[in-house]
């Protein structure tokens, strides 16, 4: 990767440095020669890639017009499908030279429009970079390419007794590259953490087209934790071309329990009691009556009749420990009004319990023609209060809301139901959905726990962060991507002009030079 990556960084840096009209080149990609610049990138792509890897035909470009959030659609100017990291780096370098925006896309399952294409930009699809390069049991590591499907990492590790812990609901189709970009979570992150806790190293292509190695197979690489900034940056800092991930030992014992309560208040109280008892289950998921109704209609998961809420609780670990935790969890659920507790006795039963939960988003389609999947976070103890407020919002607006959430960590996924055929229904649903985010912010939470900000929520960022907070994040952006070409327009409502282009202070101690007092 060495020689392929060196040449152009100075070019792109200096093009930023020299440009007095930096704002127009960096921010406005609709300049006169936009199509010419795209053509130049396409030509590089044709030289590098087989025919199938370069898409310019309008009809075929349209198949990439959205990700998992289908109500935003933009047709990209060019789609490229590199087969390896060197090709990908060369394509990014071509984009940098032409100041053409690029957007990386894995499987396109994201729910915040993070992989929404740029109309005058290049969509870089990583689906052909699908090798699991290494599974190293002795080191508890795997090395995978970005297009590898999340569940395939676990499948590759299972024969040696290991698995890959982050498990977003879409794990059968979503890619590791997308997971890294979004810092994906999943039902089990209560105990095991998110993608950021499981990615130890990466080969990374900067927006200049340079390839650098971040982190490594061993922990605590010296220097700044750039990988920590890259994971979850939603493709705005560059593209990961290989990830070294942690493998986790398959637990000796797993117990999955389905518990029926008559209300979400009871289920919430039981959750609090479990946490207060010092138990950290692998997962605690909650669904309310409307979400249960949808799941039943879709997958016949046979959840308890008449439940106002169910909890799916999973305990895992050393058998002797799980045995005791299980007894205590049962007791705590009984104490808080559980009317039915069902322990999965075999893998098929466990799978059915999880099927109800994991299919909940899609299942809502059975009870409503249209719906919005919201993703907000509150401190877990605020759950009863926030659920009451959501019910009031729903009552006063007439918009139905089904609640599915990771109860253990306060990550809510309200499903806001509407019928787009009815005038104004979509707008009413949007208002309720936005009001739910306001509730999250009021309670000290977050506008997104795992789906990302993307295109969808950048307008909410100023509600959660001050101008100073956002400006500080932009410092990171400017360090990585001074031309603002890596997935521009996502995450942040207004990009900063990276006027202070890096590299000016190369000397180690400029402060010992004279005249410092005048700098500001």
């Amino acid at each position: 990767m060495g020689d392929a990556t060196q040449g152009t960084s100075t070019t792109s840096e200096s093009s930023g440095l020299d440009s007095t009209g930096l704002d127009s080149t960096a921010l406005d990609s609709s300049g006169l020669d936009s199509s010419g610049r795209i053509a130049a990138v396409a030509e590089v792509a044709r030289r590098l890639l087989p025919d199938a890897g370069v898409i310019t035909d309008r009809a075929r470009l349209r198949t990439y017009e959205c990700d998992g959030l289908a109500h935003y659609r933009v047709t990209p100017a060019l789609v490229v499908i590199p087969q390896d990291a060197e090709q990908l780096a060369a394509l990014v370098r071509a984009c940098a030279e032409q100041a053409v925006p690029f957007v990386a896309r894995g499987s396109g399952t994201g729910l915040s429009g993070g992989a929404l294409p740029h109309a005058e930009g290049v969509l870089v699809v990583t689906s052909q970079m699908r090798a699991i390069r290494e599974v190293r049991r002795d080191d508890q590591r795997a090395v995978v390419e970005p297009g590898v499907i999340n569940l395939d990492v676990t499948k590759a590790a299972t024969p040696v007794g290991y698995y890959y812990a982050p498990d977003p609901s879409s794990q059968q189709i979503c890619s590791i590259g997308g997971n890294v970009a979004e810092n994906s979570g999943g039902a089990h992150c209560l105990k095991y953490g998110f993608t950021t806790n499981h990615v130890l190293g990466a080969d990374f292509v900067t927006p200049d087209g340079d390839t650098v190695s971040l982190g490594g197979a061993a922990p605590d690489s010296p220097g700044y934790d750039l990988l920590g900034a890259v994971v979850g940056s939603e493709g705005t800092l560059g593209i990961v071309t290989s990830a070294t991930v942690r493998l986790v030992r398959l637990p000796e014992e797993v117990r999955t329990i389905l518990v029926g309560f008559s209300s979400t208040d009871q289920a919430g109280a039981a959750t609090s009691a479990i946490i207060a008892a010092g138990i950290v289950p692998a997962a605690i998921e909650m669904m309310d009556a409307l979400a249960i109704e949808a799941a039943e209609a879709a997958v016949h998961c046979n959840y308890p009749d008449g439940a106002g809420a169910v909890l799916v609780i999973e305990l895992d670990g050393a058998a002797i420990e799980v045995e005791q935790e299980y007894a205590e969890v049962r007791r705590l659920c009984d104490d808080h009004g559980a009317f039915e507790q069902r322990l999965a006795t075999d893998p098929a039963e466990r799978a059915l319990i999880w099927k109800g939960r994991k299919s909940a988003f899609a299942a809502v389609g059975r009870i409503s023609p249209d719906y919005i999947v919201q993703d907000g976070v509150i401190p877990r103890t605020a759950l009863p209060e926030v659920l009451t407020a959501i019910a009031e919002l729903s009552g006063s607006s007439g918009v139905r809301v089904a609640n599915v959430f990771h109860a253990g960590d306060g990550n809510l996924h309200p499903l806001v139901l509407f019928d787009d055929e009815i005038d104004g229904a979509g707008e009413a649903a949007e208002r309720v959905s936005g009001a739910i985010l306001d509730l999250c912010i009021e309670h000290g939470g977050s506008i997104t726990g795992e789906h990302g900000v993307g295109m969808d929520k950048s307008k909410y960022m100023p509600r959660m962060y001050t101008d100073e907070d956002l400006d500080t994040m932009q410092l990171v952006r400017c360090a990585f991507d001074p031309q603002n070409i890596s997935n521009p327009g996502k995450v942040f409502p207004t990009p900063r002009l990276c006027g202070e282009v890096p590299g000016r202070h190369k000397g180690a101690h400029p402060l010992q030079e004279a005249g410092l007092a005048e700098v500001f």
Binding site: P219, P222, G223, D225, L226, V377, G444, P502, F520
Partner: protein, 418 residues
């Protein structure tokens, strides 16, 4: 620069920014570099005032908690202002039901543990240097035995307040464990040695305090045997909280920690004993009396050992221990994480230090890791490559240039002269 060159206008600006401004004492020197003034702000606003005044007068600033690790890394090239954060010592909020704690950066880790411990919880960060503050633990990214199960600061920090070099106060993250809104700047600040921004408060996720714990230890007489034992434990079903190795002169011990519910711990400790064989012993006491490092953390000046941090993939343990035998260093650390610490006596001749570092660095790098000089006598730091190769150094410089364009924050303390 020292006090003599800190002009009157700068002194006055700092004095009006912060109530407590003092001339430096002997113990305020930062690895031999005498600061111009010691300022001790009482809250984030005063820190911001100090940073703005320092910016206006072009002063270099070195943040300090209690100074327990201030000589780590390379010495700063200048310290006009020693920014003492020890007055920001409050544990702000322990929300037990949400398993989080918010604390000021100058609070002692021990005080945070006491507060959350009353609620049956803990911040899963070992105190590797007694007397450390939260800001110091974050800035130096210290970790101890329990990292094998619960990770390090990067896995626990969920929110941060910082004051930038230009005096702007900014936050990142928040008060909830799950949050992917915006860049995770907290991770950039962890281990940054005070070179990017001044941390003034931090919020962490907590874990329940285990009801019981047990250490099971076994002597090992070769690097291969140490690796064999460590591997048998990490691939077992005992869910170890820590797997530690202690090594000197060709032999040592491997100690395994299990933590959890009382009955579970007893059963799991028995399982560990079965893995480790008839020589295994069980105890509730930490190995090495709880010392995380094989050097004296209170030593100063030329009395310091040459202290090394060695990392490798788990299977590299035997190779690193063999290299340790070749070079005469003592080793202690987390065999379960691939993070080891080594020490060379303070009076080791420079040639020997250099040879040892090269040999150890080669062993680590052959096994995916690195070797860094954590601390040492000044002469050693001057004679060796403290950090070793840094792959993404150019990108790191660009981050530094954005956050601190005039290089006034802890200049020279970090990789590549950052």
């Amino acid at each position: 620069m020292t006090t003599d060159t800190l002009d009157t206008a700068a002194r006055e600006a700092l004095s009006s920014a912060c109530a407590q401004v003092d001339d430096p004492q002997e113990h305020d020197a930062v690895d031999g570099v005498r600061p111009g003034l010691v300022v001790r702000p009482s809250d984030t606003d005063q820190v911001a005032e100090v940073m703005r005044a320092s910016a206006a007068h072009g002063l270099t600033v070195v943040p300090r908690g209690r100074g327990t690790k201030l000589s780590w890394g390379t010495a700063p090239t200048s310290a006009d202002v020693l920014l003492d954060l020890s007055a920001l010592d409050r544990v702000l909020d322990h929300a037990a039901g949400d398993l989080i704690v918010a604390t000021q950066a100058g609070a002692l880790l021990a005080d945070v543990q006491r507060t959350v411990g009353e609620g049956g919880q803990r911040l899963a960060l070992d105190e590797t240097v007694p007397g450390s503050t939260i800001g110091g633990v974050l800035g130096a990214n210290t970790s101890g035995p329990r990292r094998t199960a619960t990770g390090t600061a990067r896995d626990l920090l969920i929110g941060i307040t910082m004051v930038r070099a230009d005096g702007v106060v900014a936050k990142a993250g928040g008060r909830v464990v799950k949050n992917v809104a915006g860049y995770d700047i907290g991770k950039l600040l962890i281990g940054s040695g005070g070179t990017l921004a001044v941390i003034t408060d931090a919020t962490f996720r907590l874990h329940p305090l285990p009801a019981d714990h047990r250490w099971v230890a076994v002597p090992v007489d070769s690097p291969a045997r140490a690796l064999e034992v460590a591997q048998s434990v990490v691939h077992s079903q005992v869910v170890p909280a820590a797997v530690e190795v202690d090594w000197a002169g060709g032999s040592g011990s491997v100690s395994v920690l299990v933590e959890g519910r009382a009955d579970g711990v007893a059963g799991r400790a028995a399982a560990v004993r079965a893995l480790l064989g008839p020589d295994a012993t069980e105890s509730t006491a930490e190995p090495a009396d709880g010392a995380a490092y094989p050097w004296d953390v209170t030593a100063t000046g030329d009395g310091r050992s040459t202290a090394l941090k060695l990392t490798c993939v788990l299977s590299g343990l035997a190779a690193v221990l063999a290299a340790a035998d070749d070079t005469g260093v003592t080793v202690r650390g987390s065999a379960g994480s691939g993070v080891l610490y080594a020490a060379l006596a303070p009076d080791t001749p420079l040639d020997e230090v250099r040879t040892a570092l090269d040999r150890l660095r080669r062993a680590c790098s052959d096994h995916g890791g690195t070797a860094v000089v954590v601390d040492s006598p000044v002469a050693v730091k001057a004679a060796v490559d403290v950090w070793g190769p840094i792959p993404a150094l150019d990108l790191m410089r660009r981050v530094k240039d954005q956050f601190d364009p005039d290089h006034r924050l802890s200049p020279g303390r970090f990789v590549g002269g950052i």
